[in-house]
């Protein structure tokens, strides 16, 4: 299973390339450059050097004792929130920006929803002296104004996308259109382990250090592997990043928690695996939120970073084979877990990561009953919550007159 995808980028029936012919040459070039980079000591040396000296990895594996006590499981947090730029995404952008440089491309384009991938891309572009254009749905530029300012400070051009639903899905379409027109000089720095081959594979490998580190840290700190690994799933890059090293360890259960929004049954959610069906979107066959005619449905989540109607094809495969389990977490469950982590550990998580925390908390009693002991769960704390303070503040009613707030309310 770990040898997937095949040479054409297929994970079983998922993945592949559903793209205009104009992009095939660029994807082939990228694939060839990536295959070479994998065994090129100089490339690997630069990549691991930047991860260590610039991004601050390996990230910590932290035993969260007060949280553990609250949920009834031994929770270990993989602290990707401590990386430079505040999320796991820095691993992917550094890898891809180095690849762009290796291919002689001076310009990178990226799409972003919440702005985290845009900020990470602008950061890597600044570091490696590349021009950077970030496509962002107009709706998102308004809700994430601070990240727009960050990207511009870092020297990137932010293009608000006014087509379609004006969110992440449309930003991705616009980035693909740009790429069709500029493919000779431009690398598309795709933000998650989705899209046409080789993106799902190369993004997985660039973020795969999360799981490799976590696995080694578990062996060192616990003397054994955990019972389960939990991560949030939008496009699915942080989840595949932590899952990948554990896939061969069949005793370790893998759980992906999707954005359930108002509840999958309401139709207002972003749970592509739980509430979607097999289809083709943005260059790959995978699980997609779609109507009976195959038109993409709009997704909904309190977390802009999970608000995407598709998922990386490897997750579709892991789901179908039963190696990983995917469950939805509602906005309300995620926000309760968000608050719980703030209050028990003094860590403000990204709302994305709060979905993984909520899932782990739900999982704890189930696993305890099944195993007959306290389970150990590694949770990928994929990002920090700075960007979400406004959303969370509004959700908990903390932005207005502080004298009206009742302590403990909403907890």
């Amino acid at each position: 299973m770990s040898e997937l995808p095949d040479l054409a980028g297929h994970f079983g029936r998922y993945g592949g390339r559903f793209v205009p012919e104009a992009l095939v040459k660029a994807l082939d070039e990228l694939d060839a450059a990536y295959r070479e980079a994998r065994t090129d000591p100089e490339f690997q040396g630069r990549f691991t050097g930047l991860l260590r000296d610039y991004a601050g990895t390996p990230s910590l594996l932290y035993r969260a004792e007060r949280l553990s006590a609250a949920v009834g499981a031994e929770i270990l947090l993989k602290r990707e929130d401590l990386n430079h730029t505040g999320a796991h995404k820095v691993r992917n952008v550094l890898g891809q920006a180095l690849l762009a440089q290796k291919m002689g491309k001076k310009r990178v384009i990226a799409e972003t929803g919440a702005g985290q991938h845009g900020v990470a891309s602008a950061t890597a572009a600044a570091l490696l002296d590349l021009d950077c254009v970030v496509y962002m749905g107009q709706v998102d530029t308004e809700r994430q104004a601070l990240n727009v300012a960050r990207m511009r400070m870092l020297g990137a051009t932010v293009v608000p996308v006014t087509t379609g639903s004006r969110t992440l899905k449309d930003a991705l379409n616009e980035a693909l259109r740009d790429w069709v027109s500029t493919v000779e000089t431009t690398h598309y720095l795709l933000g998650t382990a989705a899209g046409p081959h080789p993106f799902p594979e190369l993004v997985r490998d660039f973020v795969g250090g999360i799981g490799t580190e976590a696995r080694a840290q578990c062996l060192e700190q616990l003397g054994r592997l955990p019972d389960a690994v939990a991560a949030c799933v939008g496009g699915g890059s942080n989840a595949i990043g932590i899952f990948h090293a554990f896939v061969p360890d069949t005793d370790v259960r893998l759980y992906g928690f999707e954005a359930g929004g108002d509840g999958v049954e309401t139709g207002r959610h972003a749970a592509s695996i739980t509430g979607g069906s097999s289809g083709v979107l943005h260059g790959a066959r995978t699980y997609v939120l779609q109507d009976d005619d195959g038109q993409t449905l709009e997704s909904h989540s309190i977390s802009a970073g999970l608000d995407y109607p598709g998922v990386g094809p490897e997750h579709a495969w892991l789901h179908d084979t039963g190696r990983a389990t995917y469950e939805p977490v509602t906005d309300a469950e995620a926000m309760a877990a968000f608050q719980l982590l703030c209050r028990t550990e003094g860590i403000i998580p990204a709302i994305e990561s709060a979905h993984a925390l909520a899932g782990a908390a739900r999982l704890a009693p189930r696993l305890a009953a099944e195993l007959g002991r306290t389970p150990t769960i590694v949770v990928n704390l994929s990002g920090r919550g700075d960007k979400d303070v406004h959303t969370a503040g509004a959700y908990f009613g903390l932005l207005g007159d502080v004298s009206t707030i009742v302590p403990g309310e909403n907890s």
């Binding site: 390339r17 012919e21 899905k169 069709v180 943005h282 005619d293 993409t296």
Partner: protein
Amino acid sequence: MTSIAETFGKARAEGRALLVGCMPAGFPTVDDSIASMVAMAEAGCDVIEVELPYSDPVMDGPVIQKASDIALANGVRTRDTLRVIEAVAATGAQVVLMTYWNPIERYGVDAFARDLAAAGATGMITPDLIPDEAAEWLAASDRYGNDRTFLVSPSSTDARLAMTLEHCRGFVYATALMGVTGARSQVSQQAPELVARIRAADPEMAVGVGLGVGTGAQAAEVAGFADGVIVGSALIRCVLEAPDTATGQQRLRALSAELAQGVRNPRR
């Protein structure tokens, strides 16, 4: 029904190119789109390319996306597209479908190939389906006799060009430039070279050139080296930007006639 290859052959014998005019089904309503397509055919479009409106048309520029969005917002369904094809084909016009892949996969590839043929279309142009991923479509189109038009691009390698041509039936769609649909002020410099490469690889295959053509003069220029001239955005804009339906239809007829004149007087 005359096969599209025969129609291309006949035009080639006459020393002219075919005009392929594109319009999304259901834009702005199903009946209006049928009227537009019939008007285009009457005014000189040899082939009507019906586009199935799709939510995420990555190969299309802003004009076609806007028209597709309007059609979808007005509730057009895949079955309506088949109804449009049936109505237009019934007038004697030659019809091909252009569609992104997911709606076809969702409908069921085999069932769609069957229903497409029954509706009277000669085949399908698939902008985001390359032969590498097309096993199901290759099988279904062989079963129901649909033509298959894949895209080739200036960036296609010789090996990919040959492979793609091997899987095309009816005609091949040569994208004149690296970019998305939409009229441009000048015809691409890359187009003649791409067409020459196609001819070298397969002298028999009819070549339609699309992307960037919007005027009679440009149509004449492209007709000088290609078998078919494919026009979408410029025609759609006639309807999109018109103050009312009658004016839109009038502009559509006028531009179709201008383009038809162009393909009949190739600049060689």
